[in-house]
């Protein structure tokens, strides 16, 4: 009965896209755990970054009574800790980049599979007309002028960002907050892509 209900829906393909995205996210995180997160190098780098960030926070909190007298030496110490933090963040990025190739390959293959299944087909309906910049992705490969038709690429993009970011957060695989490049809009850890 439920399969009849699903097959009667005009945009039931969207559920296929979401289902494949969820499975891909789980597989990618499993591969990342195997190649990156369980290694001692990653754990020690992460620990170093966490400690350096917390130390930096404490040092940047100034005591107004002694601010002028200890300013120079404290500034030098802060600079040293900041350099150390940047170096550790860079090492972490490089380490994850080297191991992330396999995950990138899996994502590429899944996208190719989805593209072959749903090319030229609207898999969902967007409840508003997206801005021109977004339309390049949301209407990718679709015919017609109805800009509320949603392509597989856009839906897959939304699934990737939301599902993988939250899965990484839930499993504790998000990059440390103190790492350089955490940025205004934290994406799913790109180096594990």
């Amino acid at each position: 009965m439920s399969s009849t209900l699903v097959s009667n829906m005009k945009y039931s393909d969207s559920l296929t896209v979401v289902g494949i995205s969820i499975c891909t996210a789980i597989v990618c995180e499993a591969i990342s755990w195997l190649l990156i997160y369980r290694t001692s190098s990653y754990k020690s780098l992460k620990s170093t970054i966490d400690k350096a960030s917390k130390k930096l926070e404490t040092m940047k909190t100034t005591d107004p009574n002694t601010a002028t007298t200890i300013k120079k030496s404290k500034t030098k110490k802060i600079d040293r800790v900041e350099s150390s933090l940047k170096e550790s963040s860079r090492d972490l990025s490089m380490f994850k980049f080297k191991s992330g190739g396999v995950v990138a390959l899996v994502l590429f293959m899944v996208f190719g599979l989805l593209n072959s299944l749903f090319e030229g087909k609207a898999v969902a309906k967007i409840p508003f007309v997206p801005i021109k910049l977004v339309q390049k992705m949301s209407h990718r490969g679709l015919s017609g002028d109805d800009m509320t038709d949603c392509s597989m690429a856009f839906l897959y993009f939304l699934c990737s960002i939301s599902i993988r970011t939250n899965l990484q957060k839930f499993l504790g695989f998000s990059p440390p907050r103190g790492a350089a490049g955490a940025g205004l809009f934290p994406m799913p850890d790109p180096k594990s892509n």
């Binding site: 005009k10 979401v18 409840p127 508003f128 907050r177 205004l184």
Partner: protein, 130 residues
């Protein structure tokens, strides 16, 4: 004058660390306790998950009614940011300067929540109304 927490959260954090160097477990009761002490990571995580929950609820609701038009997207962004601000400023009464400022707190989980909201809204709208 509104009370603000000082930077004693660092000292409280050190006090809470046990011999293994881990922080003591976060208690659910602290979610609404303005006297609770907050680690930067803990507060960031809480705000992240609140945003995700709001995104899911709003997406499901907007799609079910349905609400159509770009204005409802903007409304979601304003609403979720307002709730987050109200939570950390009015309920928890944290000093935002200790946590990187309003920007740092308001952007916790923002991008993921917008994506989740759009995903839920589009899915429910497409499946329920066509």
């Amino acid at each position: 004058m509104r009370e603000r927490k000082s930077v004693k959260f660092n000292l409280q954090q050190q006090q809470q660390e046990d011999q293994n160097g881990h922080l003591s477990p976060f208690k659910l009761a602290n979610l609404f306790d303005p006297d609770a002490s907050w680690d930067k990571d803990q507060l960031g995580d809480i705000l992240h998950w609140i945003r995700q929950a709001l995104a899911l609820i709003c997406g499901l609701l907007w799609g079910a009614i349905p609400l159509v038009g770009g204005i409802w997207f903007l409304l979601f962004v304003v609403l979720s940011s307002g709730i987050i601000y109200g939570y950390y400023a009015l309920i928890l009464k944290v000093d935002e300067e200790d946590f990187g400022g309003h920007g740092a707190l308001l952007q916790e989980g923002l991008f993921a929540s917008v994506s989740l909201f759009l995903l839920a809204w589009i899915l429910v709208y497409s499946l329920a109304h066509f």
